[in-house]
Each structure stands twice: as structure tokens, then as C-alpha cells.
Point group: C2
Chain length 237, copies 2
DNA sequence: CGGCTCATGTAAAAGCCGTTCACATGAGCT
DNA sequence: AGCTCATGTGAACGGCTTTTACATGAGCCG
């Protein structure tokens, strides 16, 4: 049966058997409850049912645990973005918007990961593998921007994909961190963060010359079916 | 002479005489050096030359000190933005861009204030006077957006000023917090955060129908549609 | 000037945390 | 069976936050 190495505080021998995993899980819980600053190493150990010194067999120090979480976060983030982008199907623009929504959804649904990744205060370049994971996640956005840039309307200068990607990233992060989660979400808004970001991205894309109204027949290279006549901020009255 | 109540560790009697101010100053130093997490109450006390218990005569706890700093930060921030906006002189669009630059400059030059304001992890609504200060600062951006919205080209639906303001804020905060300061600034970029934000805002404004080229002779009076010549990202090759 | 009072500072202590080190345990291999 | 080494424990150190009882002296009042 499974009485042996259950997670949590089930009776166990001298050795935990799965401590590293249990610690990561506990840390996620704690960070999502009390923020990356409020999380303590000792608490995580307690929650895993081991002594305060035990975690040091698995992580050099508290920062390394947080870095591990950030690392995992970037991996899940990358996977989520990849899935949202879906290689640009069914059309580049709408896939692009889906990526924006996925960004926000991640920040909202995995606040612990998101804080560890972007708000834990640990230097980006402290851990090379961490930076690599971060760059792989960003690469998705960049690849999407690349495809989008290639669709630039003829006659207009083609925007640098890297710049577009950075712009999209900063918008997404800005919305997520100001309005997206927990404490910050308490700022009163006339619209949801999702709608706010979507409008922002659409206006931006239009500024680059992309036709994002998606009225029938006005779309440049896309075959997206008919949408609204309304602009990116809903129906003007 | 001025041997009496000099700042720092100069000889002093039993009473410091200006401890509250000294603590705020010390905290600013420490936060800018080690981030809002690395800052300790005891360190600030030491730096001011008093015992670790002394600060409690002036601040309920560590969080209240940080909140005080955030408060001051918002006040300076508001003043800086007001000055940058300069009531929309000499013209709305360029004043608007100046506000964006001022935002970034504040984040870069006052990282301690900026972290206390946006990254300290304390709930926005913990302190009503703090939230009020924050709202006064945002009101500048909002007022600028209002003026800008009023200039919307005829024939296009007028964008909601509040939404514009939130968009600008999220772009500015996104760029500042991802690329603007200290650790985050180590991400390698093809351009400066300032240029990145300026381009982002210009493209966004163009997406709203504002003509932002501002080369001599191509301004609003011109009949040429925006975006034909040099874009906001410089000369395409 | 003398004395009172109260804001402001100190010392000491409790409780927490991170971290280290010597030591215990027992899982897995030979 | 016995060895070994990864993994966990207990105790200890120093530092931080916060509280409490006590000390100091600046400002005021007569």
C-alpha cells in the first residue's frame, strides 16, 4: 500500500525520502500566502516535518531554494506560453493575444512562481541556469514577435522583432505586477487586467500598422473571421 | 559652530534630536544598497548611532518605516511628474513623453524610493494616507491622458483617458521594473530603457491615431498619414 | 532658579530565523 | 553481515524584531 512515503507529515523514519520536493512545495504554499519576503526557511522545514537544519542538505541556503522555484516557474511559464502561442495558429495576431492572456493568467494563478521569478530581489545573473530558463521563456515571446514583424504591412518599415518582444513583455509585466495579483489587485480599475492588457496590445499593434480591428475584409494578411467593429476599448458610445 | 547636532555619528547627548529624519535617511541608503528586503531596522539604528530599540519611538514597526518612505516617494514622484508635465507645454504630445522619461528617471535615480513604493510587498491599502499619495501621483498621469485624449483626431472614437493613463503607467512600470534599475538592468538590451519606453509610448499613441512623428513639417497639420517615414524606432536598415 | 513631566533614548530579554557543526541513522551496495 | 555515505538531528552562535522597565534631560511653569 501507500503508507510508506506519503507526502506531508505522515509517519516516516529518520529519512524523509522526498524532502527536496516537499520543501519546494511548502515554499510555494508559503510564498503564495505571505509573499517571497515573508517566506522563511524554518517554516518550510516545519511544514515538511523536519528539523531546521535539514533543508541545508538540499539547498545551499534560502536563496538557492527561491532560485530553484524561480527556475521551475520559468519552465512552467515557457511551457504555458509555448502552448498559448501554438506556433501562431490559427492566425498570428490572435495567437499573439492569446500569449498575452496566458502571461496574465500565469501571474494570477501562480503568484508564488511569479514573485519568485520577478519580485524576489535575487539578481538575474546569479545563477546561469536560471538566466537560461528565463531566456528560453522570453524566446517564445520573441519568436512570436518575429512572426508578427514579418507580417508588417508593405510600405511600412519593418519593426525590429526584439524591440516588439520587449515592448510586449513590459506591458504584460507592468499590468501583471501593478494590477494582476493579490495586494496589487486591490487598486480599483475600470476594467479587468485582462481587458486592459488586451486593449493595450491591440492599440500598440495598430500603432505598428497592423490592422487589428478584424472587420471582414480589412485584415492584411490574416484570415481571421469577422469580429467586432469596435475599437480595442470596446464599443464607443 | 556646528558641532552639536551634525548628522551621522557626531558626538551627541542622550537624545539624538533628529532621529526620525536620520532613520529615514539611513533607510534610504540601505534600501538603495541592499534592496527593501535586505534592509534591517537594526542597521538603520546603528547607522544613526542609537540603540536598536530607539526607532520604536518613531515608527510602530519596520513596515511603518517603509511605508513612510513610500509615502515620501510618492510625494517626490508627484512633484517630479507635475514638473515634467508642465501643464502640457509646449505641446501635449511632447510633454507626455517628458512624463514618461521622468517616470523612468525617478525609478533609476531613486531606486530606494521606487522599491519602497512598488516592490516592498506591503499592501497598497494598508495605509490610507499612503494610498492617497499614490493616487495623487497617478492623477498627474491621468490628467495628462485626459488632455491627450481630448486631442484625438476627429473621426476616430475618443479613447477613455483612464484607460490611456493605466496603459502608460503599466508600460512605464514594466520597463522600469524589468530593465530600469540595478539588478534588473543587467538584462542585455539592444537599446536603453529610455529609448525602449519612448518608442513604446510613441507606437501606442500612433495606435490611437495621434501623429507622433514630429519631424518638421510633418506634424498634425500635415495630411500624410502617420508612420510612413522614420518610425519611433529609428531608421530601419 | 527649582522642580515637574513627558518625549525620547537605553539595557536587557524573549522569541524567531539562518546557518554551521558534530553526530546519528539507515538505505543501498558489496 | 558489514561498510559507506547521503540524509536528518540537536545544539549552538549571532543577528533581527519587538517589548518592557528604566534613565535622561529639554521644555515648561511657578
Amino acid at each position: 500500500m501507500s503508507w510508506r512515503k506519503d507526502q506531508g507529515r505522515a509517519e516516516r523514519g529518520y529519512h524523509h525520502g522526498n524532502l527536496k520536493e516537499a520543501l519546494l512545495q511548502a515554499a510555494l504554499d508559503l510564498i503564495s500566502k505571505k509573499g517571497p519576503a515573508g517566506f522563511t526557511f524554518a517554516d518550510a522545514a516545519r511544514m515538511a516535518g523536519v528539523s531546521p537544519a535539514a533543508p541545508y542538505r538540499h539547498f545551499r541556503d534560502r536563496d538557492e531554494l527561491i532560485a530553484s522555484i524561480a527556475q521551475r516557474g520559468f519552465e512552467q511559464f515557457e511551457s504555458l506560453l509555448t502552448q498559448a502561442w501554438d506556433d501562431g495558429r490559427p492566425d498570428t495576431v490572435s495567437a499573439f493575444e492569446r500569449v498575452g492572456k496566458a502571461y496574465l493568467a500565469f501571474a494570477r494563478e501562480e503568484p508564488a512562481f511569479y514573485s519568485a521569478m520577478f519580485e524576489s530581489g535575487l539578481p538575474v545573473d546569479s545563477n546561469p541556469t536560471l538566466m537560461a530558463a528565463s531566456e528560453r521563456a522570453f524566446a517564445i515571446i520573441r519568436a512570436a514577435a518575429e512572426r508578427l514583424a514579418a507580417l508588417a504591412p508593405p510600405g511600412t518599415p519593418r519593426p525590429p522583432a526584439m524591440m516588439m518582444a520587449l515592448h510586449i513583455w513590459s506591458m504584460s509585466h507592468g499590468v501583471a505586477s501593478l494590477f494582476g495579483r493579490g495586494d496589487a489587485a486591490r487598486r480599483k480599475l475600470p476594467m479587468s487586467p485582462e481587458d486592459l492588457l488586451e486593449a493595450e496590445v491591440l492599440i500598440y499593434l495598430r500603432g505598428l500598422g497592423f490592422l487589428t480591428d478584424r472587420r471582414p475584409g480589412t485584415d492584411a494578411a490574416d484570415d481571421k473571421p469577422a469580429g467586432e467593429k469596435a475599437g480595442p476599448w470596446g464599443k464607443p458610445k
